[in-house]
Subunit: 192 residues, 4 copies
DNA sequence: GCTTAATCGAGACGGTACGTCGTGTCTTTTC
DNA sequence: GAAAAGACACGACGTACCGTCTCGATTAAGC
């Protein structure tokens, strides 16, 4: 009994979903479209995923698993420089049209599906955060007792916010964020 | 000849849209549903709005026009205190289930419709930002030459980010953000 | 409010149904196929008919309404001759490939749908029977008190039976049926 | 290795098919349903039967093989009495709800599948007809040279016709058919 | 106050996609 | 090597909405 699923179909579905969402956007992404593009029956999608959001999510997951070449952030000893490097890379990715539409789609999916949001948090966000936290924990520049979770939020959310609002994302913006936030983290000991 | 549109219908449509999106979410919000709830023909909606996102947007606009009681942020002279007050209010609003679903819906609509995003930026975001900028410009605590746009982004985006990710939003988090960001803005005199 | 249905669509649907059933048979007749051939949305069919059997039935009804040129059977005074004429016409129709497949389809539909069977009896069969009964009632050849309903059954059912079984249907067979049945009806007064 | 087919499965499939068709009718009879009810893989059905009509047909065949207790019609010397006995039995069977639905199903299957019709004619109808013909051939009541095939058709088709149309089938009707047809066959000496 | 034309409710229409069910083929595993 | 189990590509199901299109029936301007 083939209690075993076809990996060929699985890959074809995820690839088709990612490609299609980049072409037509999330609103016009349809299960039928994915199935047709993947050369697969609709049932094969519904058998393994509950919604198009879930398919999309898995497509991203597969993507990041392939690109698992960054298990750690750079650590040259200079926190500001290292963070700028990473945030500039993020800026570049968010500006890349190849990823813009798919990521907007995934964000929209997560936004209205708590189940998906939880899975996203657990399978994609948490590992990322762990890597980032490791770098911050290793930073001599930060005073002991610094709230590292807060630090992460302060560093990355401005990028996400601008991207979401459709504003311009530049490397200079990333640098300014890093400088200001690090200054704040260093100096929040003696405010006023 | 009623060369003018029926305001009764307009209100009924916006109210129905807002109510429905709070009950079923954006994905299950339909033009037919809005029309039925509003006791209105579908054509009456299509005559005045191009998409359900646009209806939703106008529903929000109508809401904020009614609550147009806050043309300015508080200014007690203590920037940190004033900002904490405002950010805590924002936290409360984002935690209010009455607004959570509708706002997620609007965000999703904006996320995948550049036209809507532009209108949102112009009609809702820009006025808000102007009010906030006015308060910051009036703050003696900030060194001259401070990038106020950056400051806004640093202050508000962490809230939006946590809300979007479904994380816990607390007043304490708002306070921490204000303290750290203000410290950073003040202390960027000695960066790196 | 167009509480009024489109007669163009109605005709297109019935025509498409009749044409298709003649091409592919009842088993492969699909609602989607009818809709596509008629250039009509599926919903328009489902709005007015509950099943493909019902559509098919109405297609036949429309057919017989158009060909409403035979309100009475011939009455030359010679019952046997008149009946042979009519039964030979029936034989010809049942042998006509243009009607064979559609009629098999309708029969199959009726066979498994009591609702349809009742409607068939009432709207198609009963009027036909009335016409036939009128001719028999006017026949001097039949003894008074003859069971005319039985007579009809004896005359027509052998044709239907052979057609259904796929047997050969010839004018000679029709003649033999008429002769034998009429003889029986005349002579059943003094059996043995 | 079971080089021969499992008779257990064969019986289970035929039983399931017969039972199911009696419960849900021919239209809703499915291969999957039969397989599930029989506790059998779908492939096992497809390996041995080409269609659900064929399965149904075999189910009937198996039935009549079991009840192979009537190799001949009664012959008391009184043809009318004997025929009435047999036709009344037929009436009873056609009125039995246990056989009504399955027989409608088989009829529908045959109606639209010439292959099946041929097999039905050869394996079920022909043997039956031979038995009936034997009785008629032995009847002194019929004039020599009587068309016995025609006689059969005249006798049995009215029952089938009424059953098919959903009309009322009574023993009295059977009697009337026998009396009239026999009178006709005897009296066709003075036709016209 | 009467006309007249745009707006309104209602909802039918041609379509697209939905999520499910069944088909007939195939593959895997068990007996 | 036949059989159970069931995944697969496919096609149709019947439903929900889409956005467009009539249809009367208000209804408020301009004559």
């Amino acid at each position: 009994m083939p209690r075993t699923r076809s990996d060929t179909s699985r890959r074809a579905i995820l690839d088709a979903a990612f490609a299609l969402v980049g072409e037509v956007g999330y609103a016009k992404l349809t299960m039928e479209g994915i199935a047709a593009r993947a050369g697969v029956g609709k049932q094969t999608i519904y058998r393994w995923w509950p919604s198009k959001g879930a398919v999309l999510f898995d497509a991203f997951l597969a993507l990041s698993e392939n690109a698992e070449g960054s298990p750690a952030l750079p650590d040259t000893g200079d926190l500001a420089a290292d963070l700028k490097l990473v945030l500039r890379a993020t800026v570049e990715e968010l500006n890349d049209p190849r990823y813009d539409l798919p990521m907007r789609a995934l964000t929209a999916a997560i936004l209205n599906d708590p189940t998906l949001a939880a899975e996203y948090e657990q399978r994609l966000e948490a590992p990322m955060r762990a890597i980032k936290l490791a770098r911050l924990a290793n930073a001599a520049e930060l005073p002991p007792g610094t709230d590292l979770e807060l630090a992460l939020e302060l560093l990355w959310s401005p990028l996400q916010s601008r991207w979401l609002a459709g504003g311009e994302l530049t490397p200079a913006f990333a640098d300014a964020v890093v400088d200001t936030v690090l200054a704040g983290l260093r100096g929040s000991r003696d405010p006023a």
